[in-house]
């Protein structure tokens, strides 16, 4: 396979991913508390259920906010060349994607509240058949990229 692309996404991505992972942790925490209540207040469940859930929650607490974001950030690379966009991501399964520039139909930037908090934005690249995302670029970078890609893609749009 090719050399990986050159550019990395913003380092603040780790913080943003960590924050959203912590927010998602509320779900297993709520489940564990629910199981605890069902076990001891209503005496509906055997105790091993909430202990198992607690163990899973603790593993999740370590892995998804503190280990995964760093690994994911380290793998995430992208590069915009004159005639193609080159993206790499994935922790266990590494995916490299090539999008020919003339196939790009439109480029969007989008930003949720978590990304906005860190002044980051996600870039979405759509072809007629596929959609690709570059997450967590700095706002400046994202809008530059969007303008650059739409400039490059405008050159000689064929049919379809």
């Amino acid at each position: 396979m090719r050399q990986p692309p050159k550019q990395r996404i913003a380092e603040d991505a780790i913080k943003a991913w960590r924050l959203s992972a912590l927010l998602y942790l509320l779900i297993p925490v709520a489940l564990t508390i629910g199981a605890f209540i069902l076990t001891y207040v209503i005496e509906f469940l055997p105790p091993w259920v909430w202990i198992l859930l607690l163990a899973l929650t603790i593993i999740d607490l370590v892995v998804s906010p503190f280990i995964l974001p760093k690994l994911r950030w380290r793998r995430w690379r992208y590069e915009v060349l004159d005639d193609e966009i080159y993206i790499q991501h994935g922790i266990l399964i590494v995916t490299q994607t090539l999008i020919p520039m003339i196939r790009v139909q439109h480029v969007d930037t989008k930003q949720g509240p978590i990304l906005a908090n860190y002044k980051l934005a996600t870039l979405t690249i759509s072809t007629a058949a596929t959609i690709h995302e570059i997450p967590a670029l700095t706002e400046q970078e994202a809008s530059n990229m969007r303008d650059l890609i739409s400039e490059l893609a405008r050159v000689e749009q064929e049919d379809v």
Partner: protein, 465 residues
């Protein structure tokens, strides 16, 4: 401005009556029990009259006109709609002659524009065939002058199907295999699901028959289904003909409903060759094109057949004549290396093996059948490996793969929407990687996988893009 043929009124009425029927049926069924016949007939009569009036009005108000650079359609009874479709936005014009059209020499004209927005497309439900042809030619910017046209037409390459090939196509269509498989599955299910007493009575009856009767019955059913498949093929693809014009293909087909389809070359995304399980042993295949946009939901088939059946060795000649742009069928493909075999086999037998274990534990009677199925999947997995591959020739990428049927796709460079390369940690250790090529099809996109290639081959594909 011209009007549709008056028979369009009837077509409209039939269509609305049919859709109303579905809504009314439950009410009718309820009413029959309660003796409300009188009111029911009154209501049906009223609805019929209203439908007829609406049908006539719709016809009266529907006019169309072809002007210099666009098609203009006016329609609507209360809300008037004016639609202008500019000529160069039109992707294709299809003429369809249904069984009710044919006795009157009529045809339906479907005009398709780019994009999947249904509202933009237009349809003339019934016009005279000559008028339909005129509209079509005018919209395509051809001026009809009888003689020159027929003369010109003769020079274009053309292929017609013979009855013999049609018969072979029907006989090997494989739908029968699926039906038999379903029967087998159903039967093995029934064995366990049916309550005991039904089973006993049934078994008694079956046992009372001589074995020969049963065998004859089974053979009869199989042959009947098989003949049905052949008949279906004749109806759908009877008098199939494909003609290559300068920048489009014209396909006419159908025994009862005659269909005329144009495929502009620039809408073709890829050409595929499919060798079905029942056809491959005889060296037979079908050729199809993958087309972008339009027609969503109109036809169930995902791809459009260029020819219902061909001998594999004749395909090159066929494409050379009809679609020379795609006539590079290679002999050699770059295949995955031997160490990829376990991946293919594991992928195809994981589910069946789980099913065998499950059935062994819970429905012990069945596990032998499922084990046989798992064995078949094991063999299929090996063939998936054997038939996977790619090759690059100039500006075209050729991908070969098998799910059940073996498929070969020819994809021009400028039709590739994006490419993905994936490898997980086992791949990395073994120097393997998989490639996914995405192209545009009627259903938004089609993704073609070539799995477990050598990494330098994957790099070759990525350099080619």
């Amino acid at each position: 401005m011209s009007k549709l043929h008056p028979l369009a009124i009837l077509f409209n009425i039939f269509k609305s009556v049919r859709s109303i029927m579905y809504g009314l049926l439950p009410i009718i069924v309820l009413a029959i029990g309660d003796g409300f016949f009188k009111y029911l007939f009154l209501a049906i009569g009223a609805i019929l009259v209203i439908t007829i009036v609406i049908g006539v009005l719709t016809w009266l108000r529907f006019t169309y006109e072809v002007t210099d650079d666009e098609l203009h359609i006016k329609q609507g009874i209360l809300v008037r709609k004016d639609r202008y479709i500019s000529k160069n936005r039109i992707q294709s014009i299809d003429l369809t002659q249904g069984i009710f059209h044919r006795p009157f020499g009529l045809t339906r004209v479907d005009i398709e524009t780019a994009g999947s927005d249904k509202d933009v497309d237009a349809s003339l439900s019934a016009v005279h065939l000559s008028e339909g042809r005129r509209v079509k030619n005018e919209l395509k910017g051809l001026v009809e002058t009888g003689e020159t046209k027929t003369e010109a037409e003769k020079q274009y390459p053309k292929r017609t199907i013979t009855n013999r090939s049609l018969f072979i196509a029907g006989a090997t269509s494989g739908s029968i295999g699926i039906i038999i498989g379903l029967f087998g599955l159903l039967f093995s299910q029934l064995e366990n699901m049916i309550p005991d007493y039904v089973y006993e009575v049934g078994a008694e009856w079956l046992l009372a028959q001589a074995i020969i009767t049963l065998v004859v019955l089974a053979i009869f059913i199989v042959v009947f289904l098989w003949l049905l498949g052949i008949l279906g093929t004749f109806i759908k693809y009877g008098s199939f003909q494909i003609t290559r014009f300068d920048d489009e293909l014209l396909i006419t087909r159908g025994l009862l409903e005659k269909k005329q389809m144009t495929i502009p070359l620039k809408r073709i995304q890829a050409v595929g060759i499919e060798e079905g399980l029942t056809r491959q042993p005889f060296g037979l295949a079908t050729v199809y094109v993958v087309i972008a946009g339009g027609e969503i939901g109109k036809t169930a088939d995902q791809h459009t057949l260029l020819f219902p059946i061909l001998k594999k060795r004749d395909i090159s000649a066929f494409l050379g004549e009809i679609l020379p742009e795609y006539n590079h069928i290679p002999d050699e493909f770059h295949r995955p290396p031997k160490r990829a075999i376990p991946y293919y086999i594991v992928r195809s037998i994981t589910l069946p093996v789980l099913a065998v274990i499950g059935s062994y534990l819970f429905i012990p009677l069945l596990w032998v059948y499922i084990a046989i199925f798992a064995g078949a999947m094991f063999i299929l997995g090996y063939f998936c490996y054997r038939d996977a591959g790619y090759t690059i020739k100039g500006r075209q990428l050729m991908v070969q793969m098998r799910r059940f049927s073996k498929e070969t796709l020819i994809i021009p460079h400028n039709r590739v929407q994006s490419v993905d390369f994936k490898k997980h940690f086992l791949h990395r250790k073994q120097g393997l990687a998989q490639a996914k090529v995405s192209i545009l099809s009627k259903l938004a996109g089609r993704h073609l996988w070539v799995k477990e290639l050598e990494q330098h081959h994957v790099k070759r594909i990525s350099d080619w893009i």
